[in-house]
Symmetry: D2
Subunit: 338 residues, 4 copies
Amino acid sequence: MSWLENSIMYTRGVAQGKQGETHELTTERQGKFHYTMGPYSDPVLHIQPGDRVIVETSDAFEGKIKHEHDRPSQLLRMPFLNPQNGPIMIAGAEKGDVVAVRIESILPRGENPRGTCCMIPRFGALTGTDLTAMLTDPLPEITRKIHVDEKHVHWSDRVTLPYQPHIGTLSLSPEIDSINSLTPDNHGGNMDLPDMGPGSITYLPVRSAGGRLFIGDAHACQGDGEVCGTAVEFESTTTIHVELIKNWSIDWPRLETESMLMAIGSARPLEDATRIAYCELILWLEKEYGFDRWDAYMMLSQCGKVRLGNFVDPKYSVGAAIDKKYLGPVLASSKVLS
Amino acid sequence: MSWLENSIMYTRGVAQGKQGETHELTTERQGKFHYTMGPYSDPVLHIQPGDRVIVETSDAFEGKIKHEHDRPSQLLRMPFLNPQNGPIMIAGAEKGDVVAVRIESILPRGENPRGTCCMIPRFGALTGTDLTAMLTDPLPEITRKIHVDEKHVHWSDRVTLPYQPHIGTLSLSPEIDSINSLTPDNHGGNMDLPDMGPGSITYLPVRSAGGRLFIGDAHACQGDGEVCGTAVEFESTTTIHVELIKNWSIDWPRLETESMLMAIGSARPLEDATRIAYCELILWLEKEYGFDRWDAYMMLSQCGKVRLGNFVDPKYSVGAAIDKKYLGPVLASSKVLS
Amino acid sequence: MSWLENSIMYTRGVAQGKQGETHELTTERQGKFHYTMGPYSDPVLHIQPGDRVIVETSDAFEGKIKHEHDRPSQLLRMPFLNPQNGPIMIAGAEKGDVVAVRIESILPRGENPRGTCCMIPRFGALTGTDLTAMLTDPLPEITRKIHVDEKHVHWSDRVTLPYQPHIGTLSLSPEIDSINSLTPDNHGGNMDLPDMGPGSITYLPVRSAGGRLFIGDAHACQGDGEVCGTAVEFESTTTIHVELIKNWSIDWPRLETESMLMAIGSARPLEDATRIAYCELILWLEKEYGFDRWDAYMMLSQCGKVRLGNFVDPKYSVGAAIDKKYLGPVLASSKVLS
Amino acid sequence: MSWLENSIMYTRGVAQGKQGETHELTTERQGKFHYTMGPYSDPVLHIQPGDRVIVETSDAFEGKIKHEHDRPSQLLRMPFLNPQNGPIMIAGAEKGDVVAVRIESILPRGENPRGTCCMIPRFGALTGTDLTAMLTDPLPEITRKIHVDEKHVHWSDRVTLPYQPHIGTLSLSPEIDSINSLTPDNHGGNMDLPDMGPGSITYLPVRSAGGRLFIGDAHACQGDGEVCGTAVEFESTTTIHVELIKNWSIDWPRLETESMLMAIGSARPLEDATRIAYCELILWLEKEYGFDRWDAYMMLSQCGKVRLGNFVDPKYSVGAAIDKKYLGPVLASSKVLS
């Protein structure tokens, strides 16, 4: 029996793990991409809990960076970056619920060199930016085009990296805000967590009717923190399996894999993102796994794992995780109502 | 001759200091208040550059906190806080322009005790919050109702403070985001700068057609940083004089008074807000007042003034200022086109 | 009657405001300057509470920057910067006491141009530094030599600033640490607070026998935040009046002037420095001025004043202050024992 | 052939991997432990490069917390925490060199329950502290005594954790500062990096003659960030192999294991610690492994690994690492002189 059958998604979801219809959200069907996630845009797809969606995602530059001599500063225009597919409406989703998104697969699209990595002026962790404002000159503007296949990322003549894709940006809509697709927050968004790859399940809080799911920004691989500001950005065909969990009220996104549970926080400074992630994880262990709050706090001080998603976006994202083997069974009560 | 006649607003504005029509934006005319500033809401008023608007602002709690035994946690619901009047459309305003808002007066409305100050659970600078997440208990929930007149704020039997009102929240719309009214950013918003009182002129960057001006959140007085999270919040009748400056491209709000020029930054951590403010001020002195960049940097290290607006909102706001007497005349070129 | 007679220094000090002997701490008597403040150095002077000391301070560069073509990167060597006079031993000072330092006067020494301001590579608020590490190039290295007299600081042909001197670095010794003179902390140190000028009284916590007073780093003027990293640094003759207050246990430095009381915090990020300053001020008002803790917190949200000392040193310094007129009389009990 | 023979320690060290004498630094020989790392203390041992030392470390509480009803606030007194063995003098070490410390083994000492974990009032990541000052009440004060053996940490009836020990505090002396043992900085110190376990090699910059090695603070296991403020603290017998690398000038500590190279930064806010770590790693790849600087920056954006040591100490510690398989051979030139 797969771990999936014991996952929160399968045990608490409306469709109970049954897979429904499969939809295709091609770039044609998507039409105009979105640069904000909010309640003000028109849905492109309506699905049922349990349905699958095959999404053709654009890359973070909407395909505008084609050659190594292309300059992001000339071809990109803020805030029209990081184009998102969606919004996808999930039937029955209401404020106070959770939408679960399992990533089944992420495959490369388009012709090689499909991957793009850029040093964009005044963007990245080791340069002055619009928020960490400085009088220093920008770093050089550099574009790398990278051969990507389903096994490898051919970084350079010297270095070949494994193909370990993930989705950089995944969210439902905030309740009333409409947030640009560069900024992660408690609705999800541009978290850039390498854990959000095939096999993972992300749990997102529903804040408006239908949830309004947005997805985009696939990365062929990414280091912790995405230090230069961009990953190996590429167009993908990403297949997701979407579920609805009723009456699960969470404040921040969460993530489950075969081996771990993770809570995700996004904030500045970076310690605040980490504080959010750990607080959420502790309260989760208390509420749904029967740990005393202080026992959980002290235990995570011995076995908690921290993943730095990015420290380059307008808010930084951090996941705090625990190995499932330390959890024991979920509380019976939380299967019904948490 | 008043300093106003030499202000940027008067010398560079479309209406050249001539006052136009006076509009009344009563609570009735406003109807529904707004909790986000963005391009997706319906205008309540269209005005010409040079027009005046008499605005009846609500208080930050929309009048729901009436007695000292009222509990914010029971009466307020996030994110429906800090109600804003607007949007007001300014004829001719386009992306790349600036809208200038001079505050003529801020007068108290409603019956005494008109002022409200609350300690709201998990809000304020000296408690764990949703962003600086902690496992500590919240501070006590306390409401103070305060007698406010046009001279004084009667804080307690022991302490009477001067009536020194300002507007806590003032903004145009972002280009595509719609930002909740609690969060300041480069569009303006909940900056809580005590300098934004009667006589001050705030310059805001236009990002969408008509500018879309929002205003609200009057404070009868406020300390630097708004440490407990709220000021003496009150309903006001605020009169503003609105101008349009064409082709003045600025990235962050700016402020002018009789004696100083100020640039305003909003970010976390607090040093980043301060960096933004000082960077903007230095580049302003270079571009429009003929200072060498490094001379301006080193000179402000000797005479710059910093005002902490708030360090309690989702982003913190800081103003960096220089006394006008050190500026000399504006460059002729920048009167025409900066 | 001067406000001084009602100051904490005069009402609670061992010498009760009586002035004792006057000592001269010339550069000759000082001999070797110190670059750390700690318990491991040899005293240069022993004084009684109430004594005055006339100190010849060096400038922050120990006089090595003589001409505008001098390069700090060639002439200065970390960590041998910001030379300090002292340690001065105060008779009777023990852990749990406070040493009060009133600055009587700060006069320029040496020949003009006496003042020095430098842009030092990778130092300052608007550049990458050793702590905010970046891959950007350093800003240009620039030295300014400035004519300073007792009235004015002749910044440039264009700008003349008032002579408003203060002491940048003032401290007692930590208990066991020896901290370099660039870093402020709860022992005092390189706070760079413009309020620490003639007329002010600084209260410092005693952590080791004799207190071990260090002083240096006079500034002819300085803007809030000392944004480029240096003020108008100069050699001074600074006269201080030193008192001892027994059994006053404080965690961070405090400051008194004719009109205000201030608590000072030093930390990163800047919000933490500000939190410390406000927390200390609130607890002070509660303990010694009879305010309810939450009343003080909410009141300072209406009338607190924040001064940014520096945001360029290894820790940033902030003062939070209240106008004395809001305080009323000190509690009788705290005059004896707080 | 072991990876060790190709390690930096073995290929560049004075002793060339030859093991010298073995010394015992028992608690008796240590005598008084140290609470600061600096140049002002008396050596307890003089060794040659290549020598081994078997160190009996105390726990972070110096053994004072014996029972679960013991209260840290009553038994511990700041700043006399985190006792350190040393200083150990390494013959020939001079400013501009590096001392390499390979941890051969960390074994538990003393009787069970040997492990101690405490929630100490106003210490930890999810509570107000002396630096993140708040008016909130402290969290409960809790002591856990834990059975630790060479295989397991018996956390609770419910959870058993693997024994994965590391050294929490390791440093040479700063040049002139003497820094308390709670604070990590560029000299090393209380970094709390779980990677610093048996098999690892830590490279520390020499700043004073002999290096002056301090070591202590063994942890039986620790989660990323050490969120509650303490790990499973225990007394250990730790065996180290010490080498000297001449003329290797590094600014911050570095770490090598069989599979990776890591640079370590310590600062606040947490993004600055991470910036330091990544900057150091990039410049290291450029200088000694022949990568172009921007290639290294962009490549680490795809494959860099970040480990959060602690975000509870006065400075936070972060390691940024790269898998050695991406490095290729070290530059011939850097074997001789970097």
